[in-house]
C-alpha cells in the first residue's frame, strides 16, 4: 500500500515524537548530573537507533550547557527584533499563499452540499442569522470566536479564511469594517441578532448568550 505525502508526514511526526520522548529522558539524566549510557538507549530502542544517535551527537556538540529560558525579560536589540519580524513575515506570507478565499458562506456551504438550513443547524444558529452573517450585516468584531471556529470547521477552511471573510484578519480591518457598516446604517451586533431572531430556539439563544458573556462581547 502506498502512503500519500500527508500520511508520510504524519508518520514522520509520530516517529519524531516517540524519539523526542525517549531522548528527553536522556537529556534529563545529563542535566541532573548523571552520565547516562547511550548504549542503554540504543539497545532498548534499536528501531530508533539512528535518530537517537543523531540527536545525542547533536546535543553534545551544540546544546549541552545552553541555559533554558531566563527569569528576567531581556531587552532585544534592533537586529533580533528584525529577525523575529522576518520570521513572522515569512510565516504570514506562506499562510496567505496557502489560504484560499471564501467570498460567500452560502456558496461554500453549497459546495459541501449543505443548504442554508443545514449550515445553520450545524452552527447552532437559525437561518436568518446565517443570512445576516452572509450579508455582513452583523458587526464583525461582535461575532464570538467560538462561531468563527465552528464556521471554519463546518466549511472546512482555516479560521483565517473565515476571519478574512468578515474582514477581521488584522485589527486595522476590524475598525475599517465597523466604520463601513455603521455608515451603511444596517449593522447590528451578534448579540442583537440573536435576541432579535424569531427562528432561534430558546436553548440556542441561551447557549449563545452564555458564550457571548464568556467572551465578554
Amino acid at each position: 500500500m502506498r502512503l500519500s505525502q500527508k500520511e508520510h508526514s504524519f508518520m514522520d511526526r509520530k516517529q519524531e515524537e516517540i524519539v523526542q520522548r525517549i531522548t528527553a529522558r536522556y537529556v534529563e539524566e545529563v542535566r541532573s548530573g548523571h552520565q547516562p549510557a547511550m548504549s542503554d538507549y540504543l539497545a532498548r530502542y534499536p528501531q530508533f537507533a539512528d535518530e537517537i544517535a543523531d540527536f545525542i551527537a547533536y546535543y553534545h556538540a551544540v546544546e549541552v550547557g545552553l541555559p533554558h529560558e531566563t527569569d528576567q525579560m531581556p531587552i532585544l536589540t534592533e537586529q533580533f527584533h528584525e529577525a523575529i519580524d522576518t520570521a513572522w513575515e515569512r510565516v504570514a506570507q506562506s499562510q496567505g499563499q496557502a489560504t484560499s478565499k471564501v467570498t460567500s458562506l452560502l456558496a461554500r456551504a453549497r459546495e459541501l452540499h449543505l443548504s442554508p438550513f443545514q449550515l445553520a443547524d450545524k452552527l447552532g444558529v437559525s437561518a436568518d442569522v446565517v443570512l445576516k452573517l452572509e450579508r455582513h450585516t452583523i458587526e464583525a468584531s461582535s461575532i464570538p470566536g467560538e462561531l468563527i471556529t465552528l464556521l471554519a470547521k463546518v466549511l472546512q477552511q482555516p479560521s483565517q479564511v473565515v476571519q478574512a471573510f468578515f474582514g477581521i484578519t488584522v485589527q486595522q480591518r476590524v475598525t475599517e469594517a465597523r466604520a463601513y457598516y455603521r455608515v451603511d446604517g444596517q449593522v447590528q451586533s451578534f448579540r442583537e441578532a440573536i435576541e432579535e431572531s424569531a427562528q432561534l430556539s430558546e436553548d440556542q439563544r441561551r447557549r449563545w448568550r452564555e458564550l457571548l458573556d464568556q467572551e465578554e462581547l
Binding site: 523526542q20 534529563e28 544517535a53 541555559p67 529560558e69 522576518t86 513572522w88 470566536g145 471556529t149
Partner: protein, 283 residues
C-alpha cells in the same frame, strides 16, 4: 489565578512501550501529575483576550506561566483566527527564549570557523530561521509534545534548523551525504597529539584504515560529537558506541542487533568519510 512559579522542566516523560519493556509506575505518576498541573494552570487563566488574560501572559510578576501553557494560548489564538493575539504571545515566548537562542546561534556559528562580520550577519539569519520554525511548530496543534515538554521540543527544532543551515551554507553536502566537507581546524587541532588508547577493548577492532582510526581516536572527546554529526545517519550510532562509549565491536553489534561484519563495514565507511574531512585540514 493559580499561583505557581515555573514548573521545573526536568520531568519524567511518557514511557515508550516496546516489547520487553515494562511500565514504570513512578514515572507515569509524575508525568500524569505534571500534565494535570499544566492543564490546571491553563484552565484557570482569565478568559482569552481579556485584560486580565494579557496581564497574566505579559506581566506575570512572580507567577510566570510555563512555556507549555503559552503554547496552548498560541493555539487558542490560532483557532480563533486572532493574528495579533498570536503575535503578542510569540513576542513573550521569544523574549523568554532570547538568551538561550542567541547563545545557541553563536554555538552553531563557532563550529563554522567564521570571521567576525560574517558571523554576526549569519547569527541573525540563523535566529530568524529558528524563530520561523518555532512559530510553525507552535501553530501546529498536532504537535502535542510542545504542550508537555517545551524545552526538549525546542532542542529538536534547533537541531532541524542546524542541519538545514549547515547544508544550506555548504558545510554539509546533504543530510545523507556519503562524503563531508572540511572540518574546522579547531576541531582537529588535537590530531597531532599522541593517540590515546581510551579503552583496551578497542584493540579488538580490526580496522584496515589505521590512519583514520588513529585520527579519530586523537580527536578530543568533546569534539567527537560534532565530527560525527557530519556522518550519514546509519554510521553515527556505530561510531558513537565505539569512540564515544568505548564499546567493542562485538558489544556494538549486540546493542544494535547487527552482525560484527556490518559493524566493521560501517566503521570502514565512516573512516573513509572522516578521512576526507580530516586530511585537508591536516595538510
Amino acid at each position: 489565578m493559580l499561583c505557581l512559579n515555573k514548573v521545573p522542566v526536568h520531568v519524567k516523560q511518557e514511557p515508550i512501550y516496546t516489547e520487553g519493556d515494562h511500565g514504570r509506575d513512578e514515572q507515569d505518576g509524575e508525568l500524569v501529575r505534571r500534565r494535570m498541573l499544566l492543564s490546571a494552570m491553563y484552565d484557570v487563566l482569565p478568559v482569552y483576550g481579556s485584560v486580565a488574560f494579557w496581564r497574566a501572559i505579559e506581566e506575570p510578576g512572580e507567577d510566570v506561566l510555563p512555556l507549555e501553557v503559552l503554547v496552548r494560548c498560541v493555539r487558542t489564538a490560532v483557532s480563533r483566527g486572532d493574528d495579533s493575539g498570536r503575535k503578542r504571545i510569540f513576542e513573550v515566548i521569544f523574549c523568554r527564549l532570547h538568551v538561550t537562542n542567541e547563545r545557541w546561534a553563536n554555538n552553531v556559528l563557532k563550529t563554522m570557523n567564521l570571521q567576525g562580520v560574517e558571523q554576526s550577519a549569519l547569527v541573525c539569519d540563523l535566529y530568524a530561521d529558528l524563530c520561523e520554525c518555532i512559530m510553525r511548530a507552535l501553530m501546529d496543534a498536532g504537535r502535542l509534545f510542545w504542550e508537555e515538554h517545551f524545552q526538549h521540543c525546542l532542542s529538536f527544532e534547533r537541531r532541524h534548523v542546524f542541519r538545514a543551515f549547515m547544508t544550506r551554507e555548504g558545510h554539509w553536502n546533504s543530510q545523507s551525504a556519503t562524503k563531508t566537507s572540511r572540518v574546522p581546524r579547531m576541531l582537529v587541532s588535537s590530531l597531532d597529539q599522541a593517540v590515546q588508547q581510551r579503552d583496551s577493548d578497542l584493540c579488538e577492532l580490526v580496522i584496515e584504515d589505521e590512519d583514520a582510526q588513529k585520527a579519530l581516536l586523537a580527536v578530543e572527546q568533546s569534539d567527537l560529537p560534532l565530527l560525527i554529526l557530519s556522518l550519514p545517519d546509519k554510521l553515527k550510532s556505530v561510531v558513537l558506541l565505539v569512540f564515544w562509549e568505548g564499546k567493542t565491536e562485538k558489544d556494538t553489534a549486540r546493542i544494535l542487533g547487527i552482525s560484527d561484519r556490518t559493524v566493521r563495514n560501517r566503521l570502514r565507511d565512516a573512516f573513509e568519510v572522516l578521512r576526507n574531512a580530516l586530511e585537508p585540514e591536516r595538510a
